[in-house]
């Protein structure tokens, strides 16, 4: 099952509070499984946010971000209907992206 990403944007005036939920194990490479074997590192490294096609936020993150990451950002000067695109890239080269309209 492809893992969804969930974007939620609250608009107050022209300021949008954007909350993104991602499904990802964010393995540190230091955790052991039930059999005592090290689980290899596997984590999101880059997060990108675009507003109406233009990059507004670029993030680089480490394995110390919690499993199933939750980010909040704020965008100003936005209006209802603006298009938001959020993408991530992880340490295995896997990608995910989602888009939403600001409501």
């Amino acid at each position: 099952m492809a893992e969804p990403m969930k974007i939620r944007a609250t608009l107050k005036g022209d300021l949008a509070e954007v909350r993104v939920l991602m499904v990802h194990p964010m393995e540190t490479g230091q955790r052991k499984d039930a059999e005592g074997r090290l689980v290899p590192a596997h984590f999101i490294q880059e997060v990108s946010v675009r507003l109406n096609g233009r990059s507004v936020l670029e993030g680089q993150i480490s394995q110390a971000v919690s499993r199933n990451p939750v980010f909040s950002f704020r965008l100003k000067g936005v209006k209802a209907g603006d298009k938001l695109e959020i993408a991530w890239l992880d340490s295995k080269g896997e990608r995910s992206q989602a888009e939403a309209a600001i409501a």
Partner: protein, 241 residues
């Protein structure tokens, strides 16, 4: 003798209590913060996808399932569980620590459709009454290498393990908020878990062998807890430490 003990107490009671109070406030703040930034909605979303996904040999979805309020009626159905069903179709194995299953996601979606509905588990059917009675006995039964029962930790008000406050689960006030917030996103292992899993985890911590998922034992305990705590509006799926 009694009086001397009481005096000694008064002298010792100052500073540590103040510290503990600060820590308590800070921990409540932490719990609020993790609830505010919880990914719990994702699991509802995954459950929703599963609920409407056509699959299996009959290429059918779950959308017409009867959870007690009629075919396809989800709103408020979770708040009326546990209850007695004549068929055994619900005896499905849930996931565990090492192997989460899709059942947890389904429970997230289903439970979310009862937000605001008062918890009203079944009590009228003789099987429901029997499950409650068995659950009550299991709650107080001490066993295992550490001689624990559920009541060993959840029997007296105002107690805690480490910094974790322990609700008195044999009381309405203690059980109410608990049964109204499971299933939940569990921060310690960052997984979505059911109350049944949580009950099993207590057995692990009591140093006992493992209750079988969907066995009469776990259903009886869930029934006892839910009936004891009935009446609170459902406000899960929650986020727990």
């Amino acid at each position: 003798m009694q009086r001397i003990a009481a005096l000694a107490l008064a002298a010792a009671a100052g500073a540590p209590c103040a510290l503990a109070q600060d820590a308590k406030t800070e921990i409540e703040k932490y719990q609020q913060m993790i609830a505010d930034s919880s990914p719990v909605e994702l699991f509802e979303l995954q459950g929703e996808t599963l609920w409407s996904k056509r699959q299996g040999p009959k290429d059918a979805s779950l959308e017409q399932c009867d959870l007690g309020l009629g075919a396809g009626v989800l709103k408020g159905a979770y708040a009326q569980l546990p209850r007695y069903f004549r068929d055994e179709a619900t005896k499905r194995v849930f996931g565990n620590e090492d192997r989460p299953s899709e059942m947890e996601y389904l429970s997230a979606y289903i439970a979310a459709q009862s937000r605001g509905a008062p918890m009203a588990p079944g009590t009228a059917h003789p099987k429901e009454a029997a499950a409650y009675e068995l659950g009550r006995k299991l709650f107080f039964y001490r066993a295992g290498p550490w001689d624990f029962s559920c009541a060993s930790c959840h029997g007296e008000p105002g107690k805690r393990i480490r910094m974790q406050e322990l609700p008195v689960l044999s009381s309405r006030a203690g059980a109410g908020p608990v049964v109204a917030t499971w299933p939940a996103y569990r921060v310690s292992n960052s997984q979505f878990k059911t109350m049944q899993w949580r009950i099993n985890d207590c057995y692990r911590q009591m140093r006992m062998p493992e209750p079988t998922y969907a066995s009469d034992l776990t259903i009886a305990l869930a029934t006892y807890l839910t009936v004891t705590g009935k009446g609170d509006p459902y406000r899960g799926p929650g986020t727990k430490r």
